[in-house]
Symmetry: C2
């Protein structure tokens, strides 16, 4: 059971994973620095690094400037060691991308979907798409779908856009493709991407909010995506703002989504005789007071909802994404004001509010990252 060098194999042992993770996330560094950061003795590192170099997972990347003695050899993670595929299933199409181990998109493909597709039909399309993208060593596939997903069991519990209920995803897919498959709620995938490669990098605890058709939220706690008991965490869109408010499509009254979503903006736009949201946004930017207050109201409502999240979870940051962030200039000031106003001071003081960095690519990068992270996951017991 020795290491069959050069072969694709799961990383064995804690410390091996620890070293690779340090190189993945804290950039190139010397063996000595690795030794300090990991707490391992330099002797052990020499042996481990020799193996990792032989396997191609890491590379020597020139020498560091001298500190008065022998110059340190920089070791770097090799993002081209392998790649993963990330997929987003939408109502009418599949978006897919092959992504390297550092989160960079290498190739991409879009394929259309028929109306109300069956699970097997979608899996087949995904299969073709992945084969299309397959190049070099592909470690696995991650799929993002809107709705309720139990990612640990690989099941789509409920997808409104595809009208699926309790559909097994990862089982059939990994059998079809011959490589591991993962499935995750799309906003969670986006959140993971921002966590690893985007605005969430500096934070151990943050919440990623998406504003668009609905309101989504991905929650990162202790550095990891938090799913809740069965994948239903982060239903920010349906917290109650006003028990006497208007009816929401979910059946309750006064949900946040009623006051802060594209639906709200569209309703208001029509009421104010604008053809669509874009029109109203333009007017707002040209000084139309009514249009301005519409966006401001939405910002305020969103802020009130987010304040609850801040009070409950005490995150370090809020990361805002989603399509409506195009008009961030029109509602962000009110949002921020509301979040910080009267929030428990201790909590809100250090709260950072920033925009997502990866845009719509984040969905694909995050989906691919499901496979990547699982590959590099530290094994919990020494094997």
């Amino acid at each position: 059971m020795g290491p069959t060098k050069g072969d694709l194999q799961l990383l064995r042992g804690h410390n091996r994973g620890l070293i690779v993770d340090l190189l993945r996330h804290r950039g190139p560094m010397s063996r000595t620095k690795l030794s300090h950061l990991s707490g391992l003795a330099p002797s052990g590192l020499t042996r481990m690094v020799r193996d990792l170099l032989a396997e191609g997972l890491i590379q020597e990347q020139g020498k560091c400037c001298s500190h008065g003695g022998r110059r340190a050899v920089l070791l770097g993670f090799n993002p081209s060691y392998a790649s993963t595929v990330g997929i987003k299933v939408e109502r009418t199409r599949i978006r897919a991308a092959r992504v390297d181990l550092a989160g960079k998109i290498l190739d991409r493909v879009d394929v259309p979907l028929p109306d109300a597709p069956s699970p097997d039909g979608v899996f087949e399309r995904i299969g073709e798409t992945v084969e299309d993208l397959r190049r070099g060593r592909v470690l696995g596939v991650g799929v993002g779908i809107s709705g309720l997903v139990d990612s640990s069991r690989g099941i789509d519990l409920y997808s409104p856009i595809l009208a699926w209920r309790h559909v097994e995803v990862t089982g059939p897919l990994s059998r079809l493709l011959g490589i591991p498959a993962w499935v995750e709620n799309d906003v969670n995938a986006l959140t993971l991407a921002e966590r690893l490669y985007g605005a969430g990098r500096p934070f151990r605890h943050f919440v990623c909010l998406t504003v668009g058709e609905g309101i989504g939220a991905g929650v990162v706690l202790q550095g990891e995506l938090y799913h809740g008991a069965f994948g239903g965490a982060g239903e920010l869109g349906h917290i109650t703002m006003d028990p006497q408010g208007p009816l929401c499509r979910c059946g309750a009254r006064g949900c946040l989504e009623v006051y802060a979503s594209d639906g709200y903006l569209e309703t208001q736009a029509h009421r104010l005789d604008f053809t669509d949201i874009a029109c109203m946004a333009k007017a707002a930017r040209n000084g139309c007071e009514l249009a301005r207050t519409t966006f401001a109201e939405m910002g305020r409502s969103l802020g009130q909802g987010a304040k609850n999240v801040v009070n409950l979870l005490n995150p370090e940051a809020l990361v805002l994404g989603g399509e409506r962030m195009e008009d961030a200039d029109l509602f962000l000031p009110e949002f921020e004001h509301e979040v910080r106003r009267n929030a428990f001071p201790e909590e809100a003081r250090d709260l950072t509010i920033l925009s997502a960095e990866l845009g719509a690519d984040g969905f694909l990068i995050g989906a691919a990252a499901l496979a990547t992270e699982s590959f590099f996951q530290l094994p919990l017991e020494a094997a």
Copy 2:
């Protein structure tokens, strides 16, 4: 650096901790069963168990009934191996208890505190109290205080009842006592106790709500207390129920605490010409409609707040504690109805709602458990 047998020492190595944890939490079992559950080979277990027996951490506890072959020897954790001390600092007194490693209270002491005590004064009292309780091997001391606590740094950030701000607690205390000290928010300590020894045992994700003078919440995610960025997680009492509601002592409007706390009940009691809450509760139980609706209203408000928690965190259970649970019969039905009503069905379906099991002792048991759990914590790297 070999194991100096019989000596008090930190548990080294993952698997050693894993085995002890299995015996601590899953009751007595044979070496063979341990081998199955841990994934370790039986040969390794023999060696490890020999060491643990020699150290007195575990014991042989008779034999199991036969399965058709040699009868299995049951191994059990030894809760008398050592003890820890749990302390709750209140406005006028200190409550303390020595607790064994299974969460059973062995001895207890109460000592009064002067008005507005200085940190050093309190530490001195704690020191005397712990010396009083010191018997056998005491692994450490845990302290629970209401208010904002940064438990990872051992600092009381803000305690309204003691008028402390940014007071270092664990540093001075552990120097004074010569054993490790921990500090934690009191409701978090209670939550930990319920997690380990009470109603929260079966759950990996749950929220413990306390209803009384204020509303407190302790959050357990992935089986562990969640603190947030700096200990401020779980501020359920100050989520906004109604932006236009009455002013709260925190400065915001329409906080949950305004609608569901002893303060609310007292106000209503006076308005209805009852002398106090107990009186009103009695009347409610005797059929007084006005008194009944007062409690029912509180239950409904609490339920609305809790629904937000359920939507955001998707826990498996809510555990309800605090002094006001004396009157649980008067508000629990409305509470439960409201939590489940219109909550996203998937989320609420499997939600369990139950009462805390440990009562006021939970604060002490949980505080002591801070020391206990830290002693048994799995080391993250093999040492």
